[in-house]
């Protein structure tokens, strides 16, 4: 239950109510679209209705004739003005980078590809005028799925990427894997499709740019998870604006799930156009535009071979994956199906030989990039789904099969066969706890009884590990990242002792204003209301990398924590000076510095802060002021893990799936705010369950998105889901001073496989061993009919 802050008490581990929520739930949040600048104009985009077409001509005359239209701008205009293509932020050897222009030049490569922009006095005029722009296209055949795109003779997405191959990538020991598979007792083979998903953040993407000619300065408000990254890439690579003349502000942002990490065409166009028309320019996506242009997620086609010895021990794993990256490479795209995927293929298991082979393909579809979990849900699905297929084939209970293969608790640090070194972990207690919570034995008995009556119950496990807290800069640098992944944190103590924290992390739903304030309040002995968390503004916050990859607590929080130690240490010297004691004799607790052994000889933190700023009476060799900055660069990833279990019932007459129970036992290390962590987990489980049962982007063979709206793309609704039963084990992470791990993505990483396994388990009396997601009623019913020999 939520508690309110008690001054002086440690707030670490307390379910403090979220400080930011009153403004969100009373409609006083300030999202990009809420902002209005004097003289503001509006952008509307002309988008390609074709997946693959040549642009022959663009006739804007009718649009320009509409009163209130300021400009119609095209890709040629942008190119002539010297605006560069948008670069990806992660490279591989041999990668084929297609030119990704904010407005297409000459040709389009997916439906929704922006071709021109209209700037007008109102959103309605802009829309009317965009509809009046006539684009003459020559339409060509398109290819939407990656496996087809890699076949000889497939329509080419980019002339300079032969065979539509973006790159190929391998990890692990191929020879050792081949040998182990050849000598194995049993080899389990499975083909798996991890379908394409669409993020659907509640707030559509938006941007508002304003150019100040007097200062030659551009300000961009944008729905970004990482405003400094936006500034760096847009300024240095796309627009050519020096950083000190470019301010990026990400105000309140209504969800991202990864989709707001990337540098999108629209913000580049809006930023450039504001300078061209000399007026602020705003653009807010419609939901339809969000479906067509927000980067999609997942979209893997995978062949797995998992080899076992006679005791059910995994001896090798071979994974071949085709990853669909869409029409262009966005910021993280090359890293998602490689370093965030292949490196996770050991899971919680001791697998001596692993080899993964990835081919990334261009297709005539919306770009694919990181979506909540990014690579790790795909890896977990490969392992956990295949383990269930194996369990059936080997005749070993799925829980037992997992248990036999777990990395032993005394094996840490554990070097996997796919590059990662797990620093800590203890997997069996989480598995046991989850099995006990769900009463696994009891469920199996209930299942058998139900089956006798023709009722289909199923249970599915997913024991996952993930690597988050992105990331050790030297490691990611050696892997092709074009930047490090540290985080900044400034703690500024004001003369009255109140605190402003500047963090490079960015909250778009995670509750940083609360959890970070809890860290501060616990360290300084103040209340969370004494603390202001500032984020999302390159004009106020030192360079930071933003929020994704479940990194805010483990990296951003650690930066703040370390700055707090610096501030406390300086305060101690000041207090010692004031108390005429040696610094090492002064302790700090409950907001007071005091002389060890005589607590009445004390100075409050506020008094010390004031002394630091008055500077009348501080140590002679000391600078005035009380403020510290840390750039925290983690030594390793953090490795949350756990076991999730879903129990489902399948209606054999309709194929309808009901999730009856969902149990999650996670190890996030130390937990700052259990309520917020549960909230993160719940949302993630909902999204992951949705992948298993409902969601899936579908294209037709012409590259038209068939699931382009909330009317035909099924996101999860509360009524579809049971109450989640959560518990935790606690293995603190050794790589950050808080001992925390990331909790933002675990729910999506674990749940998809748990739910899919449960459904297939329910269908096992029919001999069904696998169905690809989403496990829709129609698909399930047809499979049952097929198994029965009907139609």
């Amino acid at each position: 239950m939520a508690t309110t802050a008690q001054p002086g008490a440690s707030l670490m581990g307390a379910s403090v109510r979220r400080k930011e929520d009153p403004r969100f739930i009373t409609g006083t949040g300030r999202y990009t679209d809420d902002l209005k600048l004097a003289g503001q104009t509006y952008a509307a985009f002309v988008r390609s209705p074709h997946a693959n077409a040549t642009i022959n001509a663009i006739d804007a005359s009718a649009a320009l004739a509409i009163p209130g239209v300021h400009a119609v701008l095209t890709g040629e205009d942008m190119k002539k003005a010297g605006v560069n293509p948008i670069p990806p932020g992660w490279l591989h050897p041999g990668i084929k980078i297609a030119e990704y222009r904010a407005l297409a030049v000459g040709r389009v490569a997916h439906v929704g590809n922006a071709v021109a922009v209209v700037i007008a006095d109102s959103p309605t005029i802009a829309r009317d005028a965009a509809d009046a722009v006539v684009v003459d296209y020559t339409d060509h055949p398109a290819v939407a799925d990656a496996v087809s795109a890699l076949k000889p003779g497939a329509p080419l997405v980019h002339a300079d990427a032969p065979g539509n191959v973006v790159f190929t990538w391998q990890l692990g020991d191929a020879a050792a894997t081949d040998a182990a598979i050849a000598g194995a007792k049993t080899v389990v083979k499975q083909h798996l499709v991890n379908q394409r998903l669409i993020a659907n953040a509640m707030e559509p993407r938006a941007s508002l740019a304003s150019y100040d000619p007097a200062a030659d300065e551009l300000t961009l408000y944008v729905t970004s998870q990482n405003p400094h990254v936006h500034r760096l890439i847009m300024g240095a690579f796309v627009l050519g604006i020096p950083e000190h003349k470019f301010r990026v502000i990400a105000p309140d942002v209504g969800g991202g799930f990864g989709s707001k990490i990337f540098i999108y065409p629209e913000e580049c166009v809006v930023a450039w156009a504001s300078k061209v028309v000399g007026r602020p320019v705003k653009w807010t996506a419609t939901r339809s535009e969000a479906y067509l242009t927000d980067a999609h997620g997942r979209d893997h086609d995978t062949d797995v071979e998992m080899a076992f010895d006679a005791n059910g021990k995994i001896v090798a794993l071979r994974v071949k994956t085709v990853a669909n990256l869409g029409a262009y490479l966005t910021l993280f795209a090359p890293a998602v199906p490689t370093y965030l995927y292949g490196t996770l293929l050991s899971g919680q298991y001791n697998i001596p030989a692993i080899h993964v082979d990835v081919t990334a393909a261009y297709t005539h579809t919306t770009p694919v990039d990181a979506y909540r979990g990014a690579g790790r849900p795909e890896a977990t699905y490969v392992l956990e789904r295949t383990l269930d297929v194996a369990a059936r084939q080997l005749g070993i209970d799925p829980a037992e099969l997992r248990r036999r293969n777990l990395i032993a608790p005394d094996a840490f640090p554990f070097q996997t066969a796919v590059a990662l070194q797990y620093d800590s972990g203890n997997y069996e207690p989480a598995l046991d706890k989850a099995l006990a919570m769900v009463d696994y034995k009891g469920f199996r008995a209930q299942q058998a009884a139900a089956r006798a009556k023709g009722k289909l119950l199923g249970i599915g496990l997913s024991s996952y590990i993930e690597a988050c807290g992105l990331a050790p800069s030297h490691i990611v640098g050696s892997l092709g990242a074009q930047a490090g992944l540290y985080e900044s944190g400034v703690v500024r103590i004001h003369p009255t002792g109140k605190v402003t924290v500047l963090t490079g992390s960015h909250s778009h739903g995670q509750g940083h204003e609360t959890t970070f304030a809890q860290i501060v309040a616990s360290e300084l002995g103040c209340t969370i209301d004494d603390v202001e968390i500032v984020h999302g503004d390159t004009g106020r916050v030192p360079f930071g990398m933003g929020t994704y990859g479940s990194r805010s607590g483990a990296v951003g929080g650690a930066a703040i924590f370390n700055s707090l130690q610096k501030v406390k240490e300086k305060g101690r010297k000041i207090a010692a000076h004031l108390l005429e004691a040696a610094p090492e004799d002064v302790d700090f607790a409950g907001g007071n510095y005091f002389v060890k052994g005589s607590p009445s000889r004390a100075k409050g933190f506020g008094e010390v802060a004031l002394a630091a700023y008055l500077a009348h009476n501080i140590p002679a060799d000391m600078e005035p002021g009380l403020e510290a900055t840390t750039f925290f660069n983690p030594g390793n990833f953090v490795f949350p893990f756990g076991t999730h279990i879903a129990a489902v019932e399948v209606d054999s007459e309709t194929g309808q799936v009901t999730v009856q129970r969902y149990v999650a036992v996670d190890d996030f290390g130390n937990v700052i705010n259990p309520m917020i962590v549960d909230g993160q987990l719940h949302g993630g489980i909902a999204q992951g369950t949705a992948q298993a049962l409902w969601e899936g982007a579908q294209y037709d063979s012409n590259g038209q998105l068939l699931t382009g709206s909330l009317m035909n793309y099924a996101i999860p609704k509360a009524e579809f889901l049971p109450n989640f039963e959560t518990d935790r084990t606690v293995t603190p992470s050794p790589v950050n001073p808080l001992g925390v791990k990331g909790a933002g993505e675990a729910g999506t990483i674990a749940s998809t496989a748990a739910v899919a396994n449960a459904v297939i388990d329910a269908l096992s009396p029919f001999g069904i061993t696998h169905l690809d997601m989403p496990l829709t009623p129609a698909k399930i019913w047809s499979a049952i009919q097929g198994a029965k020999g009907g139609n």
Partner: protein, 288 residues
């Protein structure tokens, strides 16, 4: 997205609305709850130049007890229908069906007349109208006429309303003793609209089914009665065996296609399963 521009005309009365309809010829659209029309306008699938708002006409949303029938004004909101004591007592099936529409926000805005006039082939209320044998009252320049629900839905998004006419009232016969109804909906997980919805109302007397009406929505171009099912019920004993035998005819004469929602075979199966389930509950209600 933003709709194309239009002129907005609030109507003060039915006469006022009809006059405005006449004045603007082919161009106008009536606006009731706006929950079908506005989405279509925002996508610019429709761009009417004039909107005539009938949502503010005071008497048009009344729900009254007409003795042998319940009279529901065309602009009564779905939520009002669900919570109306008269509806719940005299035509509980209608309250049940309306409770399945969308979510609370939709039910607080959408109107019964708007839903019926829109005639979405996956809407819930048309199935109820058919099962309940409702009469729809239309008012136009030539005065008022009544249309049987059976004759009202003519095709996809098409009704028997003439241009210049509007729906003003829906009259639903009150259920008598021994009558029971039920609605079985299989909602699309994305839209919430019915993949299939079966509304059944049966009359039982002395252990025999004396009358049955079954309305189906979702699986055809329009809501329709399942005549073969009804035929297999009438005059038969009120038993599970009768229900099962009748439900087997639910897809008779219907042609389904394979699409994103499933195979033709799956759809036929859904029709049969949900018909059986609706009939079983309707029988239970009739004999309770």
């Amino acid at each position: 997205m933003y709709p194309a521009s239009f002129e907005y005309h609030p109507a003060a009365s039915v006469q006022d609305a009809l006059a405005l309809l006449a004045k603007y010829g082919d161009e106008p659209k009536l606006l009731a709850g706006g929950h079908s029309l506005i989405p279509v306008m925002k996508l610019r699938f429709a761009s009417p130049a004039h909107l005539i708002d009938i949502g503010r006409i005071p008497a048009l949303s009344a729900i009254t007890d007409g003795g042998s029938a319940v009279h529901i004004g065309a602009t009564a909101r779905h939520a009002s229908v669900v919570s109306s004591p008269v509806v719940r007592q005299k035509v509980p099936l209608l309250a049940e069906v309306a409770s399945h529409i969308g979510d609370p926000l939709i039910r607080n805005m959408g109107t019964i007349g708007g839903s019926l006039a829109h005639a979405d082939p996956a809407a819930d209320l048309p199935a109820a109208m058919l099962a309940l044998g409702a009469t729809l009252v239309a008012t136009g320049p030539a005065g008022t006429r009544t249309i049987a629900a059976d004759d009202f839905f003519t095709d996809v998004f098409t009704t028997a309303l003439h241009p210049g006419e509007m729906l003003t009232e829906i009259r639903v016969p009150a259920r008598g003793a021994g009558s029971g109804g039920a609605y079985e909906k299989n909602p699309d997980p994305a839209s919430g609209y019915a993949i299939v919805g079966i509304a059944a109302q049966v009359q039982v007397s002395g252990g025999t089914i004396t009358a049955a009406r079954v309305g189906m929505t979702g699986l055809g171009p329009k809501a329709m009665r399942l005549a073969a099912v009804e035929g297999a019920l009438t005059g038969k004993p009120a038993t599970a065996a009768t229900v099962a035998a009748a439900a087997a005819h639910a897809a008779d004469g219907l042609v389904f296609v394979d699409d994103a929602r499933g195979s033709a075979a799956y759809k036929g199966n859904l029709a049969r399963v949900h018909t059986r389930r609706a009939l079983a509950r309707a029988l239970a209600a009739a004999t309770a």
